[in-house]
Subunit: 242 residues, 2 copies
């Protein structure tokens, strides 16, 4: 793990790093030492590790004593794009323009990325938990949309993740992995989501095997999650990881 | 308004009162003086003003600086039962035993009680806001199940109510009043509610005209609302009434 840049402001230290091929950012409380809960932040499709929503959640978590880490997903952000990704992305755009079900198209893309994404997160988790200011504490995962689509296979495979905030995605291609998830989940639905049908969303919530799962639905489109849900996510992780 | 008993514990003062025919309880922070937000608490069918859930919410609100008031609904608790109520209640029980839709049966009962319930709450609001330790501050309404069924006509009619926590009820008989509600609403759904169908629940949430409304769904039956929703209700009212 190679740290490349470090800044601190408002009580939060932000460190850019690379781990092998994976570029990432770690946020911790300024001057942190010792073990603390860690939140893995998965960004949305076409976004990257420092998308506005990722950074604001990460800084919020770090301000409350958590560590938070974001990485560029495969074929996203500062990572190279491969040919197959380009082909799938072009097909996805063409399919959407032709009025095909976005749920199925997006699931195809997530399926292509998930294997690498799960391996990336497991390597990151190993490396980050070796740092003095993080340590081997409880781990949460926070990801919406593609961050949910890559997070569900990760959580199904990774027993270190003990709670998750997920959402803005339907059940396409995820039912089997969702049925292997038993940790507490807070699941966000946008009631007028133009990308994800309401029924497909509710079906993904239903597919989770977790006995403690809570669904928050708000009016508005895919990108209109209200800001009070950030507070709610923080309290959810505080309840389950602290 | 005649106060009949007063006790204080854990920083909260509880005062029993009657206003005309209406028996009620007021909770305030111990030693409170001056204006504060007020929460009206509507109990469920067959319950009363000191049902466990009502008292625990009321004490929680008062401990955070709110005033809270609960009354016995018409034909409930310490109030006399009239013949027509007995007839409707018997019909409701018989219909449920015969496997009729509980939503329609319950709506008939709520329809019978709503006119009186709205008048009661308006009289209570007038009287309680004249007290020194309450005053004319912002008002919220909290009611589940029958508390929701009587609350929706009240909120539709009463501009002093500025936010509400509602739920555990379907749209039967409530669509028109719900369409007149524009204040922020937090709406609870039990995902495996044996009394209220999921579709009828979601339809009531949809019928609310509020631009800020948020739905919280949790696994379990009608009576299994998880305790963390009490924290969430408190924060909702703190956000909208403070």
């Amino acid at each position: 793990m190679r740290f490349t840049a470090r800044t601190s402001s408002d009580g939060v230290t932000e460190q850019f790093f690379t781990l092998g091929e994976i570029p990432g950012v770690l946020w911790t409380p300024e001057g942190a030492c010792g073990t603390r809960p860690l939140i893995l932040l998965g960004h949305g499709g076409g976004q990257h590790k420092t998308a506005t929503g990722i950074v604001s959640h990460a800084r919020r978590y770090a301000a409350e004593g958590f560590a938070a880490v974001a990485i560029d997903a495969p074929n996203h952000g500062d990572r190279p794009k491969d040919e197959e990704f380009g082909r799938i992305a072009a097909e996805m755009r063409a399919g959407m323009a032709a009025g095909e079900d976005p749920g199925a198209l997006v699931a195809g893309m997530h399926g292509y990325l998930a294997g690498q994404a799960v391996a990336d997160w497991q390597a990151i988790l190993n490396a980050v938990q070796r740092l003095d200011q993080v340590g081997v504490g409880p781990v949460g995962y926070h990801g919406m949309s593609m961050g949910c689509g890559l997070g569900i296979p990760l959580i199904a495979a990774e027993p270190r993740i003990r709670a998750a905030v997920l959402g803005l995605l339907g059940v396409h291609g995820l039912a089997e992995d969702a049925a292997r998830i038993t940790v507490p989940v807070q699941f966000l639905v946008q009631w007028n989501d133009q990308m994800v049908s309401r029924n497909q969303s509710l079906a993904l919530f239903d597919a989770l095997a977790s006995t403690e799962k809570t669904l928050h639905a708000n009016p508005g489109k895919h990108e209109d999650v209200p800001s009070f849900e950030a507070d709610s996510s923080l309290r959810f992780f505080a309840r389950h990881l602290s």
